[in-house]
């Protein structure tokens, strides 16, 4: 009887939960409404015998039952029954509990249970997929931070002076001989110029040759010979003393060689002094090369080249060489 009165008021006068749409549907915003519509059958306020299925925030599904016996105690209206995780069992539970309830409510509760279970399953699947993929969308940077970084980047770029730096670094490497003594990335003329420059700065000495034309030819021949010899000899250590290798002293150039001997010895001393790195490897290599030279007894620019602090480049060696 009182249900009728309540319904009359809700329907005709005012219900706080009612939501009217333009299409003529009336929705009910009450959380305990089983169908979501504002109907005589579905209104939880206008039915003293009612049942719904809802989830808790954690995801467990409960059956809520309202009976006439408790109609006068609003705080105790809803009886909360936890349903089993198993879908079939849960359905059975609903059937048991709502045995004597109107078929409408039973049917709607079952439908609701089904839908809630499906949603829960889908959500779990998505979460698992997200977890497996492990890729999270990184939130966008705050605009203030973004602007700050942009400005700083611009200024850092200017401060970096990239092209100058790169050029400087490359030339530094060339000068220090990281590209070997016959660099592949340098043309002959430029390399010669570099060597000349280095001599001027005292990082290497060379002999005075008066006649450049002939020397050039000799150089070329020597280069080839050099290469061959290097490959043959490997890392054999020669003691660098001119007197030891008297074999090929028959050329005129050997006379020039005697000058170089002095130079060479001086150079060695200088080298030993100048050698900050203290790489014994380097020394032996140098000596080996010097030894090679003397053995052949020809004396030109190439010899001088050898005495400079030039190493055959291996990537690891280079790293060790690179100063911080």
């Amino acid at each position: 009887m009182s249900d009728e009165i309540v319904w009359q008021i809700i329907n005709q006068q005012f219900c706080a939960f009612k939501l009217k749409t333009t299409k003529g549907n009336n929705f009910c915003r009450n959380e305990y409404n089983v169908s979501g519509f504002c109907n005589r059958q579905s209104c939880p306020l206008a039915n003293s015998r009612y049942a719904t299925v809802r989830t808790s925030p954690k995801g467990t599904i409960y059956l809520y039952i309202k009976t006439i016996e408790r109609a006068h105690m609003p705080s105790k209206w809803w009886e909360k029954i936890k349903l089993s995780q198993n879908y079939a069992e849960a359905l059975q539970q609903i059937e048991d509990r709502l045995q004597y309830f109107p078929k409408f409510l039973l049917h709607k509760c079952k439908q609701r249970l089904t839908r809630l279970v499906q949603v829960a399953t889908r959500m779990r699947k998505l979460a698992a997929e997200e977890d497996r993929l492990g890729e999270k969308l990184v939130p966008k940077m705050a605009p203030k931070v973004k602007h700050r970084e942009e400005a700083r980047e611009r200024k850092a770029l200017i401060a970096a002076k990239l092209e100058r730096t790169i050029e400087r670094e490359l030339l530094e490497r060339l000068r220090q001989g990281m590209y070997g003594d016959q660099p592949l990335n340098c043309s002959e003329t430029v390399w010669k110029k570099v060597l000349q420059g280095l001599e001027k700065e005292g990082e290497g000495t060379r002999d005075k040759d008066m006649d450049e034309g002939i020397e050039d030819e000799d150089e070329e021949d020597e280069e080839e010979e050099e290469l061959e010899e290097e490959i043959e000899d490997g890392n054999v250590e020669y003691v660098s003393d001119f007197e030891e290798t008297d074999d090929e002293l028959n050329d005129i150039e050997d006379w020039l060689g005697s000058d170089d001997e002095d130079d060479a010895e001086d150079d060695d001393d200088e080298d030993d002094d100048d050698d900050d790195e203290g790489d014994s490897e380097e020394d032996t290599k140098k000596k080996a090369k010097a030894g090679d030279k003397r053995k052949r007894g020809k004396v030109t620019k190439m010899k001088a080249r050898k005495k400079k602090e030039i190493e055959v480049e291996h990537e690891t060696d280079r790293e060790k060489l690179l100063a911080f």
């Binding site: 492990g134 942009e150 790169i166 030339l171 590209y179 990335n185 430029v190 280095l198 690891t316 100063a323």
Partner: protein, 427 residues
Amino acid sequence: MPSGNKGKHRSGGSLSLKTSNKMVRKQLYVKQKKEQGKERHEERHRRRKEEAKDPKLREERLANNQPMTIERKRVWDEVDDDSLGVAVDVAELKRRRLEKEEAEAARLADGAPEEDEEKDDDADSMLDSDEENADDDGDAEERMERLRQERAQRKPSIAPSTTSTNLDMTPDSLTRQFPNLFNEEPPVDPKVLVTTHLNGTIHKEAEDIAAIFPNSTYIRRSAHAYGHKYSVREIAKFAKNRGYTILMIIGEDLKKPSSLTVIHLNGEDVPPGPSLTYTIRNYLPGKALLGHGNPTNHYPELLLNGFKTPLGILAAKSMHTMFPPRPELQGRQVVTLHNQRDYIFFRRHRYVFREARATEKNVVTAEGKEMEGMQGIRAGLQEIGPRFTLKLRRVDKGIGRAGSEGEDALKWEWKAKMEKVRTRFNL
């Protein structure tokens, strides 16, 4: 009326403002300007003449008036710690420790003559002048004082320090934390696998980025909208099985590459190593660069500039392993990763050593002096390929955030509050 004119003269202003006659006012203004600048102009003129006669004066003047840059003002963390995340100059730290040891040794040896420690000319460019030597006493103290004074007198450099990072300077804690990365002897030839985030659409850019690294492949992430989407961890496993050493994932935002994650897949028996995540900004493909060149297949040379702290060294080493250890010099290509104030600028150039033209000056070292022995030689550069800026954001122990386990799963993360102090940098 004569009084009318006088009424217009305001007191307290110069003639060039007060005069009502525009033409006269103009002339007065010009005159005023000239006079203002006259003193300065004369001073400069005189100085120019003097310096033309004696260039040393100019050098002195420049050396005394160095502009104050942020690099010079750089602030380091005052701790004797070299873990990741501490802004410590590794070279400085090493030297300080050496000093301490020497002081100890000197104390023990009790006055035995001590050699001057090796003065690295390159390393002092980022000097912080306070040296902490708590355990000094007696002779050692004097010696320390002397050294300190000498060092203090050396002037810091004008330009940012550009010397390549010396990877031998890695602190021990770093080598312990990342053994696979730092103890690779002999250096392995890298094999790079590049891919994008899920549903990535920047295939062209990703291919370009893949082309930067020799011996690399780009594979699209999802073949089909409903196909099985492989996660990064799975991809890493497959790549490792097939012998790849590095896995790179390019993230995008609005059709532009926006992030780069580098995952080091180590060899057999070793779980995948650190993954470094960078953000990419200002990505420009080769086409957008004026006068760009085209790359060849040669292995490029690598230039790593400006990595100073332990974190910086880690990043540098990581990038070092991405490229083949032995560059093909005949290709004359160089890849530069230049760190400046925590921004890593990536550039690719083709270079050639050539003689300087008549109008070109000689190359100047970081300290400001001309490079010895290189008069009249310059390196011409032509930029190739993409250029972008990277900024390191996080270092994870394993494969990204999800693939790392343990307490120190997250080795380092960028936080906005690190940027509060303008002069403190992490790399």
